[in-house]
Every structure is written in C-alpha cells, then in structure tokens.
C-alpha cells in the first residue's frame, strides 16, 4: 500500500518536472541560442524482495537534455566565419567605393577632365590670363582630390586597423569566456554525478560564444569527455579546458599588421572570418589601391613636368629657380649633395643624357646654349651645380637642403626650352658690314700647320701684316685648334678681330662698309689653305645681311642648321643668289632663293618650323660666309628636370605629396605654354592638352583618365563580387540557421501539446493518489 503512495508521488513529481521543463522551453522561446530541453523518463525497476511480484516502482526523470545537432552547429560556425569575412569585405570595399566617389561631380576623373579641358582651351588662347587662372584652379582641384583620396583611404585603413584591434580583444574576451564556461560545465556535471543535462545552460552560453567567435575567426572544436571543449584556430588553442590563449596585434617595420599568438613571433594565418578579411584589406587591398593612386600622381606629374620644364613662359625666361625635390643624404655623411643622383633618394630616376641650358639676353633676345652631360652613376648635386655655374651669366649652387639653386645675372634669363636664337650670326660672318673671312674647314677640325708658316693680311687696303705661326703658341702645332689659331691672329694683327664661331675661325676687319676689306695671302707654307681661309679680297658692304630667325623648331631630335652662301652676290639683287641650309650631318635640307626673286626682309621658311629673314647685304661663298643655328628637339634627355622638380608644374610624386610648383602657384603668367618667345605660341600647350589621351608607359599603356577609370572599375568589380559572395554566404547561413532552428528551436504549439499531455499525467497521478488514499482509508476502516 505504501508503495502506491510512493508511485503516485513519483508520478506527480515527474509530471511536475516535465511541466517545469515545458514551461522553461516556452519561457525561453525568444532567447537567442536557446536549445529546447527534452525530458527522458525512465521507469524505476522494481525492488525484488521476496517472492511477491511487484509492479514497477514508478517513474523518474532520467535526463533533461538539450536537443542539439552538433554537426549542424559545427557547420553553422564555419558558415558564420565565411559570412563574417564576406560581410567585412563587402562593407569595407563599399566604403572604399564611396571614398573614390566615382561618377560624382568632384571625383578625380572629373577633375582630371576639367584640367585637360582648360589646357585645351589654352591652346586656342595661350595668352589669356583668365584661361590660365582657370587652368591653375583646375590643377588645384586635381591636387586636392589626390590629397583627399589619399587621406580618406588612410582613414579607411585606420578604421580597418582599429576594427582589427577590437576584433582581437573580442577574440580574447570570448576565449576566456569559453574557458570559464568550460570550468562551470565540468563542475556542474561533476556535481550532478556526470549528468550531461546539468550543464545545459552553460552549454547554451558556450555555443553562443562560439558562434560569436566564429564570425571573427574560423574555429574547430574538440570535445573532451568531461564536457569541456578545446577551441582551435589557425592551428593554435584559443581555449582548452580552463585555460584561454590570447592573440595580439603586431606591426611590421613596413607598417603591415600581423596577428600573433601569445608571445610567439610567427604571424598566424586564418582561413576565414572577419580577421583574415581585415588583414587582407589592410595588407593587400588598401595598399594596392594607394600604390595605384601614387602611380597615377607620379606619372601625371612626370609627364606634365617633362613638357612644362622645357617650355617658354609668358613671363619670359627665368631669373631664378630652385629645385623642389631635394637630394637625400643616403651615404650618411651629413651632406646630401655628394650622393650620386642614382642613389640620392629622388622619386624619379634621372637617366644618362644631356640637359640643354639656354641663356637669353633679355635686351636682344639672343640665345646662348650650353649642354650639360648627366650620368646618374657619377653626377652629384655638387658636380651638377658646378657645371651649371660654369655657364656664362648664370650662378648655381647646391644648398644645404640638397636643392639646386640657379640665378641669372641682371639682364639675362635662363630656360630649358627649345627656343631658337633669333640672332645666330654672332661672329658677323654672314654678309656683314665688316670685311669678314670665315674658314671653310669642317667645324671643330684641327689644322696641320708647321712651325714658321706665315701668311699676310692686308686690312682695309692697308699695308700687309705678316702673321707667323710658332710652335710655342700651340699645344701641338700639327694639330692646331681653331681657338689657338684665333688667339695667334688676335695677337699679331691690328685692325681685325679673330674669333671662333661654331668651331670655325672667323677673321673680321674692325671697320665697316665697302672700304672695309681683308686680303689674305700665303707666305711660307700654305697656312691659309690649310686653315680654309680664302685668299680672295673680301670687302664689307653698306648694309648687313643681318639674318634673323623666327618661328619654333618642330623637330623631335637635336640638330643644327648651318646656312652657307652658295655663291657671291647681293641679297635681293643678284639673280640666282642662293643660300644652302645643311643639317648637323652636312646633308642639305633646303636651298633658299635670295636673289632677285627675294624681297629683302621677307620671311623664308627653311624646314621644321624655322623661318629666316635676310636684309639687303652682300654675301660671299668665297669668303666662307656662314652661320649656324642650334636646334633643340629634346632639351632634357636625362629627365633631370622632373627628377629634381626644377621649373616643373607639379611637385611631389605620390598622392599625398603632389602639389603645384611654387614657381607657378598663383602666377598664371608663369605657366610655360610656348616653345618660342611669342605670346601666342601654343607649342607646349598643345603637348600638355594631348596628355588627355596620351598613353603613358608608366601607367601600363593607359592614359591618365583611362587609368583612373580602370581603378574605379576594379574596385566596383571587387564590390560586386564581394556583394555576391556575401549574399550567397548569407543564404547558406540562413539555410543552416533554419536547420538548427528545426532541431533545437522551441515550437510553442508543440510545447502546448506537451503541456496538455503532462497536465493529464499530473491529473491522473493525482487521481491515483486519491484512489490509493481511499483504498488505504477503506483498509484502516476495516481495522477500526
């Protein structure tokens, strides 16, 4: 009889527990990460004492388990890692796309476009100060865009960095949470005598923590017999039993982020999750983009500067210039000026080549040219400054900061342009008012004179003067140079002036007009013939032929035009009189008719944009009348001007250092748009405007605008794929979440059915107890 009560009581208790569990499930229907509990009843086995057959002893709740599918849980964690990584990629790439602001009104592509448009407008009116100012504004907008992009990308990079840092802290926090939970689970199970269900809440919490963790890094778990788990990521233990591992964020000297374990030195590689996505952005994507932007800035500045440094300014030749890119003291001795240019920290490497420096006489416009050879392996700032300083009327020095400073003497200016010398016949050899005889020998040749050679010169019809060539006046008289010969003539003759022009000896009477004359005769030996000096009487004329050069040279190589009288006569009068024009290889490039068909003062087109005018003077082929005009097609084959940032338009070679050169900033007339001195010359402007579509080697054969468009499109494609990946991952994750829900989620309707079921059991158990009680009462009544 007593057993009945016991059975009934047990039944009541079991039903109560079942109801409690059901109630707990219902209460936690919205609790995230909650796994529904299910009850397992076990029938109590009868105690067998004696021969009596007992009914069972009732029911007990053997287990309250979490309903969970570990396989699904694991797959959910791995999917979460993929999703986390994809989301980070997509979100950050979207940020970058916003930064690029592509298609908007102020993006880099639009500013570049405006700049090229204002340059194109300048080709039509290069002397318009409004258009020049407008071009400067457009250039400033481009500079601002580059700077903004650089700093905004740096901002995204910084965000990524701080997200990395906080993710690492999160990982560490979660790892220690998991370790704590491990301890709790072990203890709970131990206290409940190994009952798995005792640690259900902690297990739920631990699963939730693992989900959080898996979003950040991909994890693998190994469950131990005591219920604790080990969490492994990137081959390291993040948590094991009661211990938690820690991650730390490190930076390499080059600024790259690395994640390391504990106090170890090896960088960890994660397969999935937010962390590796952030690392990839920070180490590859963002630096890659910034480097592309830097390439664009560098090449844009380089091409601009190449053209601009060799152009002619509206404000005329430069009076002073300072290089904007300093040489850097690489060899560590405190002086930046003694490092060879190939190793002086210049952002653009100079090449082996020649720089043409033109010095302009501001009053006459006459141009003197000097070539400076540059070898990056041997030339230093000091040697370069010395070479420039050696040029007449120019002072140059390399200052303490490693910059080259050039100044012109008063009355002179300098340029690196191909500007033509308007007055090339300095020695007055060609049809001058003075009686002049010019050597017809090849320029620069030496002469085989002998000691004791003499010639006589009759100046202006006067008495013969004898010139003796002595060995003592020459380094080697058998290889006499033009300079030495000129010196001897000047020393021994009166009434004349000897000079060397374009490598030829020119002897001129100091008087002018038809009474001015020279007659040379050989004395001992034939020095006059050897020297190529005519022995025919040569007289001066009343008017000088005064050749004047105009136009601008359109050729692309360096050359020269030598003008030689082909016969004797008076310009504009003598029928059939011609002047031959020969290039540097002595090939005839043009024949100019200056006879009776020519109207003196008129313009004659030679070739390649060079125009010459002659006045009505007398020229003579016999006395070697000639002059040479230097032609510069490539003023700077060494690229030294853009390398040093001299006379350029932009300074700087990266997106965050690009700026307008101070010599041009705010000074519209200082922009070099011409190739010649005329205000309306647009030669350089045309080349600058052509940069809009010119394919640049440094940009892999793309133009600047194409390069920017490719950069933007590249990011767009990355965003699109990241978006697609994220979408796919999201739906995979959603699918797995649904699976988990279907296993572990609480169904209210189901629980309600359970509730009814357990309610009925409770009622029945109560009924049983009531019946047992009645039966006992009956028994007791019997006894009384």
């Amino acid at each position: 009889m007593m057993l009945g009560f016991d059975i009934g009581l047990r039944a009541l208790l079991a039903s109560q527990i079942a109801l409690d569990v059901t109630g707990n499930n219902v209460a936690n229907v919205d609790t995230p990460g909650f796994t529904r509990r299910s009850i397992r009843f076990a029938a109590l086995s009868p105690t067998i004492s004696g021969p009596r057959i007992q009914a069972g002893r009732g029911v007990e709740v053997s287990d309250v388990r979490r309903v969970v599918n570990d396989f699904v849980t694991a797959r959910l964690q791995s999917s979460n890692s993929s999703l986390g990584g994809a989301e980070v990629q997509r979100d950050r790439l979207r940020d970058i796309e916003n930064v690029l602001g592509a298609g908007g009104d102020s993006d880099l592509g639009t500013s570049l476009d405006s700049l090229f448009s204002s340059l194109s407008a300048l080709t039509a009116e290069p002397d318009s100060s409004e258009r020049r100012s407008s071009a400067l504004s457009s250039a400033e907008a481009v500079v601002r865009e580059f700077r903004r992009l650089s700093s905004d990308l740096a901002g995204v990079d910084a965000d990524v960095g701080s997200q990395l840092a906080s993710s690492i802290s999160e990982v560490n926090r979660i790892s220690s949470t998991i370790a704590n939970l491990n301890v709790r689970i072990r203890e709970a199970r131990a206290a409940a005598g190994g009952n798995v269900g005792a640690s259900a809440e902690f297990e739920d919490a631990r699963d939730a923590a693992l989900q959080e963790l898996s979003k950040i890094v991909d994890v693998q778990t190994v469950t131990a017999a005591d219920g604790t788990i080990s969490v492994i990521s990137a081959g390291r233990l993040l948590a094991s039993g009661s211990r938690a591992g820690t991650l730390r964020l490190d930076t390499t000297p080059s600024g790259e982020f690395q994640v390391k374990y504990g106090s170890g030195a090896d960088p960890l590689t994660f397969r999935n999750g937010q962390l590796p996505a952030l690392l990839d952005l920070s180490s590859n994507k963002i630096p890659g983009l910034r480097s592309q932007l830097d390439d664009l800035a560098k090449n844009l500045a380089l091409e601009f500067n190449r053209i601009h440094a060799t152009g002619v300014r509206l404000s005329g030749p430069l009076q002073s210039a300072t290089s904007s890119q300093p040489a850097i003291d690489r060899n560590g001795n405190g002086d930046p000026n003694d490092d060879v240019l190939a190793n002086a920290g210049l952002p653009i490497d100079p090449k082996s080549g020649v720089l043409q420096v033109a010095v302009v006489n501001l009053a006459t416009g006459a141009v003197d040219r000097t070539s400076i050879t540059i070898d990056p392996q041997t030339t230093t700032m000091t040697s370069l400054a010395a070479a420039v300083d050696a040029i007449a009327h120019i002072r140059a020095q390399a200052d303490d900061s490693g910059r080259l400073r050039i100044t012109a003497e008063s009355g002179y200016g300098f340029e690196f342009s191909p500007r033509l010398d308007p007055l090339p016949d300095r020695a007055s050899s060609f049809g001058s008012v003075h009686g002049t005889i010019t050597s017809t020998a090849t320029p620069g040749s030496t002469f085989a004179l002998a000691n004791g050679n003499t010639l006589s010169v009759s100046v202006d019809g006067g008495a013969s003067q004898t010139v003796t060539f002595n060995s003592g006046d020459f380094a080697d008289i058998s290889q006499a140079t033009a300079d030495e010969v000129a010196a001897v003539l000047n020393a021994q003759l009166t009434g004349t002036s000897a000079s060397v022009s374009n490598g030829k000896v020119v002897l001129a009477s100091l008087t002018s007009g038809p009474s001015s004359s020279l007659a040379i005769t050989d004395g001992i030996g034939t020095p006059a013939a050897t020297l190529g000096l005519s022995t025919t009487l040569e007289t001066g004329s009343t008017t000088s032929a005064s050749p004047r050069i105009e136009g601008s040279y359109s050729g692309t190589t360096n050359d020269s035009f030598t003008f030689r009288a082909l016969s004797n006569g008076t310009i504009g009068l003598t029928a059939g009189l011609q002047v031959g024009v020969f290039d540097a290889n002595d090939t005839q490039v043009a024949v100019l008719d200056v006879g009776s068909t020519y109207i003196p003062g008129g313009a004659l087109t030679v070739a390649d944009g060079v125009v010459v005018r002659f006045s009505a003077g007398a020229i003579s082929a016999t006395s070697g009348d000639s002059f040479k005009l230097d032609l510069v097609g490539q003023p700077d084959t060494a690229d030294i001007l853009p390398a040093l940032g001299l006379a350029g338009f932009f300074t700087g070679a990266t997106a965050d250092t690009i700026a307008i050169d101070p010599s041009v900033d705010g000074k519209p007339s200082a922009i070099a748009l011409g190739l010649g001195p005329d205000a309306g010359d647009n030669g350089a402007a045309v080349r600058l405007a052509a940069l809009a579509s010119r394919r640049l080697d440094g940009l892999s054969g793309l133009s600047a605008s194409e390069f920017h468009a490719a950069l933007v499109t590249g990011v767009a494609q990355d965003v699109q794929s990241a978006d697609q990946v994220a979408t796919v991952q999201q739906s995979v994750f959603d699918g797995l979440s649904k699976e988990r829900e279907s296993v572990s989620g609480v169904s209210l309707d189901e629980e309600m059915v359970n509730m009814i079921q357990f309610q009925r059991s409770f009622e029945s158990a109560a009924r049983f107890i009531s019946v047992t009680n009645q039966v006992s009462q009956e028994l007791l009544n019997l006894i009384r």
Partner: protein, 493 residues
C-alpha cells in the same frame, strides 16, 4: 527540407522575406526617382566601365567643339577688319584717280595727298585691330601691335613687327587649323610679279623678267641724235633733200626709232624759197628757206623734230627717212644706256644697282617710263609712296606725277586683291569650321545616346517594376499577418 518548424523559424523567415521585399522595393524606387540605372559602379561594373569610357569620349568631343568655337571667334573680327580695309582701299583708289585727273592742279593734288595720309592712319589702325586684347594680325605675337610706324628720312615707314607663323588648334582628332592671321601675308608684299610700265615712249617691260627693283622708279628715254636720209651732210643731214637736223635737234627732238619708224615729207618750191614739211603725215609746216634754220615740225600725236632747212634742195618733193637714236637713263639722268631696240635690254641704275629689263623694240619717242615692280611693296609702302608723290605735286611735272601714281595704283590693286583673297580664305575657314562643328556634334550625340542606354533607366520599365514590387510586398505582408494569428492557444479553452 526540414522536418520541423519551430516558432522562431516562422518569424525568421517572415523577417527575411519582408526585408528582401523592402530591399527590392527601395531599389526600384531609387531607379524611378533618380532616373539612373547605375547608382554606383558596383551595381554593374561592366556598364560602369563603358559609361566612363563614353564620358571620356564626350569630354574629348567637347574640347574639340570648344576649339572650333574659339577658332570661329578669331575669324569674325578679322573678317570685319579686312572688310573695312578693302572698302578703305577702294575709296583711296577713287580719290587717287580723281587727283591724277588732268583737270587737277598741284594744290589739289597736295590736298589729296593729305587725305591719303589720313587713310594711312586709318589703315594702320585697322591692321592693328585687336579683340579681347589680342592683336588679330600679328601671328603668334599677339601682345604687340603688328604694324609700327616710324620716321625714316623725310618720310616714314611702317614695319611689320609680328610673326609669320600663326598658332594652330586641334579641331578634330589629329587635324589642326590655323587660328589668327599674319599681317605679313595679308598686308605685306604679295611676291614679285610682272613689272608694269606706264609710258608713252613705246618701251615695254621685257617678258623675260629678272628685275630686282623694289617699289617704283622713274626711267627716262632721252633723244640723242637724229639723222636724215643718207646722213652724209654734216650734222647728219640728207644729201638728197638737204634736210639737216638743227642745232636744237639733239636736245629737243622727241622722235626715236630705227629707219622706217618715222619720216618727214618735204616739199620745196621750185625756186627753193618756200616749202612745207610734215612729220609722220602730220600737218604741213610752211617755211621760208632763208630763215628756216631751226624749224620745229610736229606730228599729229605731238612728236617733234627740229630741222635746219636753209639748204634744202629746190623742187624736192618726197619723203625723207630719219633714224633717231636714244638712251635710257634713270630719273636723275645717270646711267645712260643706248637703246638697242631689242626684246630684252637690261638697264642698270648706277645709283641703286637695280636692273630693269626692257623691251625696246617699239620705242618711238622720248619721254619718261614709270616702272612699278609689282608685288615688291606692301600695302603701307604703296600708300606712303602715293601720298608722298601727291604731296610733292608741285616739284615735278604733273604728267610725271600722274604716271608714277598710276603705276603705284597697280600695286595698290594687288594689295587690295590680297586683302580680298584673305577674306575668302577666312570665309573658307569659317565654312570648314561649320562642317566640323556639325560632325563633332553628331558624334557627340551618338556617344551620349550610347551612354544613356547604360546609365539611364527606361522610365516605363522602372515604374512597372516598382508597381510589381509594391504588389509583392503587399501580398507578403497580408500573408504574414494572417498566419501569425494562428496558434493552438486560439483553440484551447
């Protein structure tokens, strides 16, 4: 397919679907309100790339169109200036022709000269026209007046201070057009052409050319000696008729020519006392032998010979041939060169060394030859020379002034032709620009349309999509609302 749906999965599903619906609806709304299919490049990177390329094309076409507009803006003011100049020159020509009219006297001519001076100043102003502060006719030297006047001796000279080259702008891919003009070509010497002679002497410019003079000059054909008939009598007289050149013949005769060019017809009375003589069939001049030591006989055209008829043969009645020698000299009478009656005789001026080639085959009388070396002087030089000639009207014979100025008018006409030709070149440039503009605009329209295809949304399609999404959302919401109300608890009492 899951076998069990928990309460949460229901809600999760509902939320997810609702979100997706709203996202699509938001997208559709964006498209309709902005009119753009492409909100950001990542929406469609391939289309975005095409759009960017098209934008580059559009920009480059815009730049070319701007250049065309700039080119045009230099043409219009230049055309106006040249028009003005052409009219001015036409007026000048009228005035000059009037001034050299025989009815005008030296004072009238001097007045006309001053009027020409005004015209020169005007022409200078026009040649130095500018637009937007840029000189139109200086070539690439746009910042300085291209024509500068300065004193030169007793007169003045206008020098060209611009450049011959003009700058070029790109008006279509790789094609450059000159903008601006160079005054040198328009107002300067047009290039040596045929020499023009204004003369009554019968001398003509030789067809062989080779002259090297500049501007104009005056040459003279001077008579040296006349010989009659066989020339056997002293003084060059004819023995048959007794006609002898008088003492003033050498300096005063105007006829020149080889045998057969001129002749006199002499009739002497039988008694030898009186007679008549005529030249080249002109009016007969009666003479009395005794006093006819220096008889002047004129032809119908005004040529004259001077005869000493005191020794004429009585009863002579017939023609007497004459041969008359002449020389060429410069204006001052220097450089005397005998006339050779050849097709290409060279006269070299001893002062200037200028060579003039003259066809002297038909020289019939003495006189002056106004020589104009056409095309060797520019507009200003010609105008200044005409002005100076007119101003100096009193200091030389009126006929000389007339001849010189007439010669220079030839040059003036060439200059005016150059200006008109400049006008038509500008007209050609203008129509070239018109054609180019049309083509560029068409090209741009094509590119813009192509870009719009990628970038712009088809409004009809977008609105339809918006409505569809709206309907989807509505359906979803309705369904969700209905199903949420179902629960077991509804049915348990």
């Amino acid at each position: 397919m899951t076998l069990r749906i928990s309460s949460n999965s229901f809600y999760l599903q509902a939320r997810a679907n609702l979100n997706a619906n709203l996202l699509r609806l938001a997208r559709a709304q964006d498209e309709v309100s902005s009119g753009k299919k492409l909100q950001r490049p990542s929406d469609n990177p391939a289309a975005a790339s095409r759009v960017l390329a098209r934008k580059r094309d559009e920009s480059s076409l815009d730049r070319l169109l701007a250049n065309v507009a700039d080119a045009r803006s230099t043409i219009d003011p230049a055309t106006g200036a040249l028009q003005q100049l052409s009219n001015l020159l036409s007026d000048v020509e009228t005035q000059v022709l009037d001034a050299i009219n025989g009815a005008r006297n030296a004072s009238d001519r001097r007045t006309a000269g001053n009027a020409i001076d005004e015209a020169i100043k005007q022409a200078l102003t026009i040649a130095n026209s500018s637009a937007d502060g840029r000189f139109l006719f200086g070539g690439t030297r746009t910042d300085q007046p291209p024509f500068v006047e300065s004193a030169s001796g007793t007169s003045d000279v206008v020098a060209f201070n611009g450049s011959t080259t003009t700058r070029e702008v790109e008006i279509s891919r790789g094609a450059f057009l000159a903008t601006g003009s160079s005054g040198e070509a328009l107002f300067g010497p047009t290039g040596r052409g045929r020499t023009v002679f204004q003369t009554e002497t019968g001398a003509r410019a030789s067809s062989s050319g080779g002259d090297n003079g500049i501007g104009s000059t005056l040459l003279r054909v001077k008579h040296t000696a006349t010989t009659y008939g066989d020339g056997s009598l002293p003084g060059g007289g004819d023995s048959a008729s007794g006609a002898v050149p008088s003492a003033s013949s050498a300096s005063s005769d105007t006829v020149i020519g080889q045998a057969g060019t001129h002749k006199i017809h002499l009739t002497v009375s039988a008694d030898g006392v009186t007679g008549t003589v005529s030249l080249d069939g002109g009016p007969a001049v009666a003479f009395v032998t005794a006093g006819a030591s220096d008889t002047e006989v004129a032809s119908t055209v005004g040529d004259t010979v001077h005869l000493d008829l005191t020794g004429v043969t009585a009863g002579f009645d017939g023609d007497v041939s004459l041969v008359s020698q002449g020389v060429l000299t410069n204006e001052a009478g220097l450089g005397s060169t005998p006339i050779t009656y050849g097709a290409n005789q060279t006269f070299t001026d001893p002062t200037t060394q200028v060579e003039t080639h003259i066809d002297t085959t038909n020289v019939v009388r003495s006189g002056r030859v106004a020589v104009t070396y056409k095309g060797t002087q520019g507009l200003f030089e010609t105008l200044i020379a005409i002005r100076d000639d007119l101003r100096q009207a009193g200091s030389r014979p009126a006929d000389e002034t007339t001849d010189l100025v007439r010669g220079r008018l030839e040059d003036l006409r060439s200059s005016r032709d150059a200006v008109i030709s400049g006008l038509s070149e500008l007209g050609f440039r203008s129509s070239l620009l018109d054609g180019t503009e049309t083509r560029l605009q068409d090209a741009k329209d094509t590119v813009t349309t192509a870009r719009a295809r990628d970038e712009d949304v088809d409004i009809g399609e977008a609105i339809l999509k918006l409505q569809t999404e709206e309907t989807h959302l509505q359906t979803g919401l309705q369904l969700t609302a209905r199903l949420f109300n179902l629960s077991l608890s509804n049915f348990l009492s």
